[in-house]
Each structure stands twice: as structure tokens, then as C-alpha cells.
């Protein structure tokens, strides 16, 4: 095992914490390390407290670990808030111009640096002290200054770079002259060309790679970064992006565009999704293929806007009146977010249903390193689409009764076809119909699609790992994957035989496959980022299986492997 280090930089909103954290991520990844980093911020623009926590490791990591090995504190507040996470051997690198009170730091080793003064001396604004701190960090870790400079150069315009270069070099020199190197050293391992992306970027790129041409959304944390990124690249990506007047407008625009034949997506969080619910049912009733990204944050109501949660699972599955088929998928990390977003468009069009991609702040706003995405793995399948002309037989019927429930889909503008979609119950032609016989048949036709969907998803709905003869199985979904993965390894080290089952496609619920996995699997422990165990409830509803224990976290902060380890040890 090589080094596995947690570095945190903290300060006020406006101190450039996110940028400094991202520079760290890139610097380490360019040297062949893996990173997972969480940007923790509050719902405000200035003041308050922000931190960026970078976990850097020689092997892929997908969750934060408990404890901080090296804390860079730009203000006193950071020291106060995080002193408890420092242990023997931890380092506190702090701006001695800003931090005076070190009481309560405990066993950590303090390393003072006059960062404010250094920023002034290189002729920069206060924010360049971040580069001085990173320079010092590089020296402490025995890392390559050139890698930091390269990252800075790519980040900034030449003039801004010059000042940051000076600051970084100065910080590096200061550390060399004043501090001893750390016990843990990160030696440059070689650049493997990996990318540092957030889940938002992975989602956006997955959509673009899959041929999404229209994105409409209303700003809402933590889905806004998808809007920002797509808006920024829209010209190069050959897509249209609209900030709508509300989430209601956004989803209806997306339904209109999808009806017209364009792969379209919207994204929001729970509050906005609540507003979209009526139109989601419209997509279901009219059989319009759309993709809705639901990036969860803790509720109820406004909740904790900038934190993470998995409490909208049952909502996503049940949202909107009546009964209609839908697909709900939940990627487990940033990388999978790319591929499941891309696949969501195929599923939406093949089955002419709304697809909900259930992610959360822990995915949309966490940075991690990924291999450049495999575009060969992104296929485009538009299902039963009529490309240019309807040649019969007979009059085109948008809702033709078929065996699998999927009707050939002509787009408005298709020669020879009149395409009528209707949110009222309708006949095959799309005309409103209140006939009881038709109503039953049309409902059956729509719901029949669930059978075809389940068939298509067979073998793709679960990820399973661990010991087949285990005493316990950790049932989970979504972004808890990373923490659960490490927890299973650590539990094995503790001598417990544990298996993990992750549900990727949550609806239609893969009952048969789950029952097969859980049969004789020992105790079932649901691990979820919510207060009531929603997957556990869903499991019971769909299979009758009752979980034995729940390990839950619902304070808005992501699970660490340690949380799960302790939770499982407690019940085993």
C-alpha cells in the first residue's frame, strides 16, 4: 500500500478555496496519483466557511476518509472547525498573518507561514497566497514543483500566471528553508493522462456524447453546474441551452423538443423536481422520451442546499399522478455517471418513457480522476423512430397498439404522417378518448413497456462484489458506492465476511435478480444516505424481503468508509 493522504484547504467564501482544491487535484493526477475531493461550502457568497478536501492515493478512491493529514488554514475559523480532525502526525500549515490562536490544535504539528505578506510581496492580490501554500505543500511532500507550475500555467492567463508562479516558488522556497519534509512523501509516478472531472461535467459530457442537442433548466444547487458547463460549451458542442423561467417551463420545453425529435434533458434538485412532477406524468402519458437529472440534496423543503442526500428515491419512483412506466437509474460514481447519462437517452427513446437519473451533490460537485471516456462504449439507439417518411400501412397512428407496447414514433414534419400527442387519455390516433375499453387497452399498452424495459436491463441492474459465502450483505445504491467499497475491504481485514449489492437501475425494480442475490446471503444491511432507509422500503414493497439493519447518514455529509465500518460492526 502506498500513500493515502487527506489534504484539506479551508477559508472563507471568496478565498478561492475551490480553485486551490482543483489545482491540487490536477497536480496530483498529473503525477500519476488518484484523487477524490469534496468541496464543502455553504449557501452564501462571501464569508462563511469553505473547504476543499482532497484525498490522494496510489489507488482509485471514491470517498473521503475520516481525519485530515494535512490542513492548510487560511483563517482562524478553519483551525477551530477542523482541529478535531487532526491527529498525531497531522500537519497544520497556516497563514500566520491571519491565524493567531492555535489553542485546541492538539497533537498536530503547526507550520506557520506568513501567506498574506508573501502575497503582497509578489505584488498579487490576497488570493495568490493559495499558490504560495501549494508551493509549500509540494515541498513538504517531496513532490515536483514543475507539475504545480504546469497546472498553474494551464489554469491562468499569462499575466496572472506570472504572479502565481512567483508565489508558488516563494512558498516552495519558504518551506524548504523553514520546514522539515514530511514522513509521507509523494514521488512523481508519471502522467497517465487521466482527467479531473466532477459528476456534473461527466453527466454533461455523457449527454453530449449521446447526441443530446437541447438542455433547459432553472438554476438549483447542486444541479446548476450541469447548466453552467453545458451553457459554456454549447457552441462547440453543437447544442442549445436555455435557462428557463422555472423548472415547470424547463421540463415542458424539453418535452416539446423531444416530441419534435431532439434528444433533450433537464436537470434540477428535489425542489425543482417537485415542480416538474406534473409534466413528468405528461411525458409518461404522451410517451415522450426525456431525461431528467435529479441531483439530490437534503430536504425537506429548502433543506441543506449545498450538501448531499439520497432521500428522493421513493419520490422519483412515484412522482406524478396515475400509473405510467419510467426508468430510474442511479450511478455510483463520477465515471459511471457519464455512461449511465449517455445510456439514459437510448432507454428513453427505445421505450418512449421519461428516464430519471438519480444523482446527488456528492456526485455532481465532487472531483475525481477518470480515464478519458470510452466513446466506443457509447452507442446510439433511437428505437422505433420513423426518420423521413411514413409509407403506411394505413394512416399513421402515434399510439398504435403493439405487442411490446412501443408504437413507431414519427416526428412532426415527417412526410405522410400527422403526429398527435395527447396528455388526455387518447386513442391510437392521439385523439382524446373517454371510452372505457380504449382506456384499459391504452393503459395496458403503456404498462406493457415495463416488461420490455426489464428485459433490456437484465444483467445491468446490479453490481455485486465481496465474498459469496458472506455473513452479511451491504445493500446500497448511488454515490455511497465508494465508501461501501472501502468498508467491505476494511471489514474483511477485521475478519468479517461481507458482500455488497448495489442497485443501479432502481426502477423497474430488478426484483428477480435481487432476490437471487439476497437468498441465503446472511444478514441484510441497508446503507443509505437518508433517514428512513428508502431502498429497504422499496425492497420490502417489491419482494417482501425485510432488511435486518440500516446504517444511515442524513446530516448532509457524505459517508466515510469508517462510518459504515462502525455501523456494521455495531450490528454484527
Amino acid at each position: 500500500m502506498g500513500p493515502d493522504l487527506t489534504v484539506m484547504i479551508g477559508g472563507e467564501a471568496g478565498d478561492g478555496i475551490r480553485q486551490a482544491g482543483l489545482l491540487m487535484d490536477k497536480m496530483f493526477v498529473r503525477g500519476g496519483f488518484h484523487v477524490f475531493s469534496v468541496f464543502d461550502y455553504q449557501s452564501l457568497i462571501r464569508g462563511g466557511h469553505n473547504y476543499h478536501l482532497v484525498r490522494v492515493s496510489v489507488r482509485p478512491v471514491r470517498a473521503p476518509r475520516r481525519g485530515v493529514d494535512l490542513l492548510i488554514a487560511l483563517n482562524e475559523d478553519t483551525v477551530e472547525r477542523h482541529a478535531g480532525e487532526l491527529t498525531t502526525g497531522s500537519i497544520l500549515l497556516y497563514d500566520s498573518d491571519s491565524v493567531k490562536d492555535l489553542s485546541g490544535v492538539g497533537p498536530a504539528k503547526p507550520l506557520p507561514m506568513p501567506l498574506r505578506t508573501m502575497a503582497r510581496e509578489v505584488g498579487g492580490p490576497l488570493i495568490v497566497r493559495n499558490s504560495a501554500a501549494l508551493g509549500a505543500l509540494v515541498n513538504l511532500l517531496g513532490y515536483e514543483l514543475d507539475v504545480l507550475l504546469e497546472v498553474l500555467k494551464r489554469q491562468f492567463k499569462p499575466k496572472v500566471y506570472e504572479i502565481n508562479e512567483k508565489a508558488a516558488k516563494r512558498g516552495y522556497e519558504y518551506a524548504r528553508e523553514n520546514f522539515e519534509s514530511l514522513g509521507v512523501q509523494l514521488r512523481f509516478r508519471g502522467d497517465e493522462g487521466r482527467l479531473v472531472v466532477t459528476g456534473s461535467e461527466a453527466c454533461a459530457l455523457g449527454a453530449v456524447a449521446a447526441g443530446m442537442k437541447f438542455y433547459a433548466a432553472y438554476p438549483m444547487t447542486p444541479a446548476s453546474p450541469i447548466l453552467h458547463y453545458l451553457a459554456r460549451i454549447q457552441r462547440d458542442a453543437d447544442i442549445g441551452v436555455i435557462q428557463a423561467e422555472s423548472e415547470i417551463a424547463a421540463i415542458n420545453m424539453v418535452i416539446g423538443a423531444a416530441y419534435a425529435g431532439v434528444r433533450s434533458m433537464t436537470g434540477t434538485s428535489g425542489g425543482g423536481f417537485s415542480l416538474m412532477v406534473e409534466a413528468l406524468g405528461q411525458a409518461g402519458a404522451t410517451e415522450t422520451p426525456i431525461v431528467v437529472v435529479l441531483a439530490q440534496r437534503p430536504g425537506p423543503s429548502t433543506g441543506l442546499p449545498t450538501y448531499t442526500s439520497q432521500a428522493d428515491l421513493l419520490f422519483a419512483i412515484h412522482a406524478s399522478q396515475g400509473e405510467f412506466p419510467r426508468i430510474v437509474s442511479a450511478p455510483g460514481d463520477v465515471e459511471e455517471t457519464f455512461y449511465l447519462t449517455a445510456e439514459a437517452f437510448n432507454l428513453a427513446e427505445r421505450f418512449q418513457v421519461p428516464v430519471i437519473l438519480l444523482i446527488d451533490k456528492h456526485i455532481t460537485e465532487s472531483f475525481t480522476d477518470v480515464e478519458p471516456f470510452d466513446l466506443g462504449a457509447v452507442t446510439i439507439d433511437r428505437g422505433k423512430i420513423i426518420e423521413s417518411e411514413w409509407r403506411g400501412p394505413g394512416e399513421y397512428k402515434r399510439y398504435l397498439f403493439t405487442e411490446d407496447g412501443i408504437s413507431p414514433r414519427a416526428l412532426p414534419g415527417t412526410l405522410g404522417a400527422i403526429v398527435k400527442q395527447n396528455s388526455s387519455e387518447h386513442n391510437e390516433l392521439g385523439w382524446a378518448s373517454e371510452d372505457p375499453d380504449n382506456a384499459r387497452k391504452m393503459q395496458d399498452k403503456r404498462l406493457r413497456k415495463l416488461i420490455a424495459i426489464s428485459e433490456a436491463l437484465r444483467g445491468k441492474s446490479l453490481e455485486v462484489w465481496g465474498d459469496p459465502g458472506a455473513d452479511a450483505v451491504l445493500l446500497h445504491w448511488g454515490s455511497t458506492r465508494g465508501a461501501v467499497y472501502e468498508a467491505t475491504e476494511r471489514l474483511a481485514e477485521e475478519g468479517l465476511k461481507v458482500r455488497a449489492v448495489r442497485v443501479i437501475y432502481l426502477w423497474p425494480f430488478p426484483s428477480e435478480e435481487i432476490v437471487a442475490e439476497l437468498r441465503g446471503a446472511g444478514r441484510i444491511i441497508a446503507v443509505e444516505q437518508n433517514a428512513t432507509g428508502q431502498l429497504a422500503k422499496l425492497l420490502r414493497m417489491e419482494t417482501g424481503i425485510q432488511v435486518d439493519h440500516r446504517v444511515l447518514r442524513y446530516d448532509g455529509r457524505p459517508f466515510t468508509p469508517e462510518d459504515i465500518l462502525e455501523g456494521v460492526m455495531e450490528v454484527m
Binding site: R30, R154, G193, L195, V197, E201, L205, V208, A210, G211, K213, F214, A216, I233, R235, D236, A237, D238, G240, I242, A244, E245, I248, A249, A250, N252, M253, V254, I255, G256, A257, A258, Y259, A260, G261, V262, R263, S264, A279, Q282, T286, P372, F373, L375, I380, L411, P412, G413, G416, A417, I418, V419, K420, Q421, N422, S423, S424, G430, W431, A432
Partner: protein
């Protein structure tokens, strides 16, 4: 070229005999026929209410959407494929009550749509409640002691927001209505037409309007004059119901959202190559 008769469907019409919707439907069919539009290139979006059934009665593409959402849905269709003629029809409850939040933004975007409001000043299909345009004091099923609120004026509302085409029609004058629809379709940008539409069952305003309606085209009104448009839009209120002008109140040429965002429509989104090499975006992630 398609004829008015060919634009009909076999669907049985369920509007009340004498309903103002018949005139709007006729004007709409004539518009398609007289402008020589191809039915497969026309999309009608309708909301919830009696008007909403219109899509079933005309042989063009249609989307019968949920209550109040005609504008965003129509906007999405137009952005996806600007080669389609997209026409939204909404009721006054649909457009001015539940869906009013979309109107300012459709106006601000100046998206190239025709938007017709069947303004009968009452909820018909839900059997006679008041809407934002029902006169103050009128007794309806939900206001047995009279409507307590002032009615809104859709035309001054649209004008104040900078709408580029503002018109009012009367369902008792199909010929004039057809003229307005045709001008609205021709208008480059968002064309807003409020249609005074009597509801013979819950609020029969035929006699009232027949006595008071006059055509702006016959009155020397200059549709390029915004101040004059505003004055005409207030004429019914100011004359205490003496005169009700119909016609084009205001018309101006202004950039549409497609002019402002040319990459949206250089090539219709619906025809673009789906495969995009995303490798070009990787630089910033290194």
C-alpha cells in the same frame, strides 16, 4: 395545397352549438389553407379547457398539453425544429391564470410563435368559475357574491413587456380573425392574439361585443405607435364599455431569440449529427 375541408378530422365535435371556438377553428384552418402551409409542417399546441380539444379537430400535428404549459412546450418544439410552424392555443384560464408566468418570458425571448388566447372570460370546461379576465362583481359558481378582483388587461400586459405583435380578435368576425392569424404567422417573432370569445353556456358576450366592436384597421390606427397602441388597449376601460377595438394594436421588428443565439438554429437541432467527439473538451480537465 390543402383545403379547409381536408383539414377536418372524423373526430366528433363536442363544443356547445354557437361556441366561439368554432370561429377560431375556422379561422385557423383558413389560415393554413390560405397561407399554403403543409399540414405535416404545422404543429398546434393546446392547453386544458374547451379550446384544448382543437387539436383533435384539425388534421395537423398536435400536442394537447397540461394546464397552462402551452408556451414552454411550443417554445421547445420551435427551438428543436424552427422549420415547423408552431402555433399555441390557450384558454384565458390556461394563459392568464395558471400559465401567466410563461407569457412575460415568451415575450422577452420573442420566440417565433403564434399564441392565440381563447378569452371567454370564464372557465367553461370546469363549468363556470371566474378567470383573471372575468369582470369584477360577476357572480360565478366560485364567486357567488361576485368576483372580488379587478380583471387583468392582457393587451396592456403584453405591451408593457415589449411584445412585438399584439392583436385582439373577435370570434364573431371570422374573416377579420383569419386576417389576424395570417399576420401573426407571418410576423417574425412572438405574435400574441387575444380573442374575445363568447361562451354561450356560461357567459354569452355576443350581444355585448357585437354592439361595441370596431376594427382598428378602419380607424387610422398606426400599429407602429406604441403609445397609441397602449391607449387603444385601454379604450374599453376608459370608455366604460362604449368601444372595443379589435385588430393589430402593435407590431415591430425586433431580434428573436434565434437572432440572439444563432447557433440554436443555424442548422435545426433535430437534423444535427448526433455523434459529437467530446475529446475536444478534455483540455480543461488536465
Amino acid at each position: 395545397m390543402v383545403s379547409v375541408a381536408e383539414l377536418g378530422t372524423a373526430k366528433k365535435n363536442t363544443w356547445c352549438p354557437g361556441c366561439g371556438n368554432f370561429a377560431i377553428l375556422m379561422a385557423f384552418k383558413r389560415t393554413i389553407a390560405e397561407l399554403g402551409l403543409k399540414p405535416e409542417r404545422v404543429v398546434v399546441v393546446t392547453g386544458i379547457g374547451c379550446h384544448g380539444k382543437m387539436g383533435d379537430y384539425v388534421a395537423v400535428n398536435s400536442f394537447h398539453t397540461i394546464h397552462g404549459r402551452v408556451l414552454p412546450l411550443a417554445t421547445g418544439i420551435k427551438i428543436a425544429n424552427p422549420e415547423l410552424e408552431v402555433m399555441g392555443f390557450a384558454g384565458d384560464g390556461d394563459a392568464y391564470a395558471i400559465g401567466i408566468g410563461h407569457l412575460p418570458h415568451a415575450i422577452r425571448r420573442n420566440v417565433d410563435l403564434l399564441y392565440v388566447v381563447h378569452n371567454n372570460k370564464v372557465f367553461g370546461l370546469t363549468t363556470g368559475q371566474y378567470t383573471p379576465t372575468t369582470p369584477k362583481g360577476m357572480k360565478t359558481r366560485s364567486t357567488p357574491f361576485g368576483v372580488p378582483e379587478k380583471p387583468m388587461n392582457p393587451l396592456t400586459f403584453a405591451l408593457s413587456l415589449g411584445a412585438t405583435f399584439v392583436a385582439r380578435g373577435f370570434a364573431g368576425d371570422v374573416e377579420h380573425l383569419t386576417y389576424l392569424f395570417k399576420e401573426g404567422v407571418r410576423h417574425r417573432g412572438f405574435a400574441f392574439i387575444d380573442v374575445l370569445q363568447p361562451c354561450v353556456t356560461f357567459y354569452n358576450t355576443y350581444p355585448y361585443y357585437r354592439e361595441r366592436v370596431y376594427r382598428l384597421e378602419d380607424s387610422g390606427h398606426d400599429p407602429g405607435d406604441w403609445e397609441a397602441a397602449l391607449a387603444r388597449a385601454r379604450e374599453e376601460e376608459l370608455s366604460e364599455g362604449e368601444k372595443v377595438p379589435i385588430g393589430i394594436f402593435y407590431r415591430s421588428e425586433e431580434p428573436t431569440i434565434f437572432d440572439e443565439m444563432p447557433h440554436l438554429t443555424e442548422e435545426p437541432l433535430v437534423r444535427r449529427e448526433l455523434r459529437v467527439d467530446i475529446g475536444r473538451f478534455y483540455r480543461e480537465f488536465r
